[in-house]
Amino acid sequence: MDILRHNITWDTATIWLSALGTLAIYSVLYKENPVYRLAEHIFIGAAAGYGVYYAWTQILKPLWWDRITGGNWVWIFALLAGAMFYFIYSQKHSWISRLIFGGLLGLISGAAFKAFAGINMDRISASFKPLYVHSPNMTTIESISASLNNVLFVLILLTVMAYFFFSFEHKSTIRRAPANIGRWVLMFAFGAMFGSTVMARMSLLIGRIYFILHDVLRIG
């Protein structure tokens, strides 16, 4: 027992608890079971509790409560504004919540208008690419490769736009062919995005397996 008392440090206990949690969560791969459900509930509860603790200690207390108790009573209005949201649950007084929601939506809309230009103007101008790229410090192969890249970019841009052009039916071949090419390149793009998703999920699994092997079992 003495050996146990000496060797089981706080870190070791944390690592083993994490390992048990990982195995409990992955046990759902076999089938839905009470151990998985227990671990899931503990995780959700702990994350929610941690969020509340953090919100109070890092935000509400220093930025709001301490200011009020320090004599800056104007901050009480933040509580009143926040409380207005909860009137959405009252049929009689839900108009109070609409006031604050309206104000918030106005602010968000204004920010979205401002954001639109910031995000899209550079992208629109970047989509005007030269179809022939050449500069004195480029080799012929580099020049051909850069030109091909740009031609491909412009071709994909135009065909995908043609696919999303719904103002008239794509009956004639001239209208249908670019839209079809656009549909194909979209499928390639979706395939690549799905590949990225697979990579993300595999990375998370590898992370947990590495943790079990390296930190818990001390292998590898």
């Binding site: 953090y54 954001a115 550079d122 998703t197 990579m199 397996i209």
Partner: protein, 262 residues
């Protein structure tokens, strides 16, 4: 099938099989952007990840932190997730201890800010950093922290790194790059990486680290063999298994269709 997946992941990890890692131009762009931070300016590492994406976002954060310490660039961590705040602090503290760097002199943690507050914060941050940030991780007003004394406006920030599993890049582009042209780099989870290619092509971001793979490439540039590099072999073998299963599935599907038509 799950067991087979575990086997193809465990084997390269246990046998320490290192497959070649080729550094992509996007990762090199991110690396160069860190190198080019002008002296007198700091970098900001925005952390929005939590334990759910720790395998991808932590190695990215650690690689960036290590690079900044190594090249003598000062940086601030700002967290928009309570878990990420703590995890990034632990990582940066451990690396700082290893590389003999001092909190408040070489790096600082601006603390946790609610993600709902991201847009208002980005609107006030450029004009007055001290006011927008308020207090750091320990509750010290940022104006009193030595490395932050002369860091007052967006002009004093030389680079912003967005390490995230969420669609936050557009917010940084809209409110910071779009207006002030502060260089940005993007370190998303692989699932979010497709969102980064348009801004990368348009020059709105200087570089990108795609998930764990991007972190492994960054570690290679740093000459390190940390978690992402060790895991890269397992990532490749797991992808090979998935490709083999897709091919087998399609062969099975085509042959069963042929049998039915006969």
């Amino acid at each position: 099938m799950y067991l087979l997946l575990v086997v193809v992941i465990v084997l390269p990890l246990v046998m320490q099989i290192d497959l070649p890692i080729v550094v992509s131009p996007a990762v090199r762009g991110a690396y160069n952007a860190v190198e080019q931070i002008p002296s007198g300016k700091i970098a900001v590492i925005s952390v929005i990840w939590s334990s759910g994406t720790i395998a991808e976002n932590r190695p990215q954060t650690e690689a960036l932190v290590r690079h900044m310490f190594k090249s003598g660039k000062k940086f601030a961590i700002v967290a928009f997730d309570p878990q990420g705040s703590e995890l990034a602090f632990q990582s940066a503290s451990a690396i700082a201890k290893e590389m003999r760097k001092t909190y408040g002199i070489d790096w600082v943690h601006w603390g946790y800010k609610p993600s709902a507050n991201l847009i208002p914060m980005l609107q006030s941050l450029p004009r007055d950093i001290h006011k927008a940030v308020g207090k750091d991780y320990f509750g010290t007003p940022v104006g009193r922290i030595p490395m932050m004394k002369n860091i007052r406006t967006i002009k004093d920030i030389g680079l912003i790194a967005d390490v995230t599993p969420s669609a936050t890049l557009e917010i940084w582009i809209a409110f910071i790059y779009g207006q002030y042209r502060t260089p940005l780099i993007y370190a998303p989870t692989a699932v979010m990486a497709p969102e980064g290619f348009n801004p990368l092509d348009a020059g709105q971001i200087k570089g990108m680290l795609t998930g764990m793979k991007g972190a492994a490439e960054y570690e290679r540039l740093l000459g390190r063999r940390d978690f992402a590099t060790r895991a890269a072999g397992a990532l490749s073998t797991s992808h090979l298994l998935i490709i083999a299963l897709i091919v087998l599935g399609n062969i099975g599907y085509i042959s069963s269709r042929r049998q039915r038509s006969e």
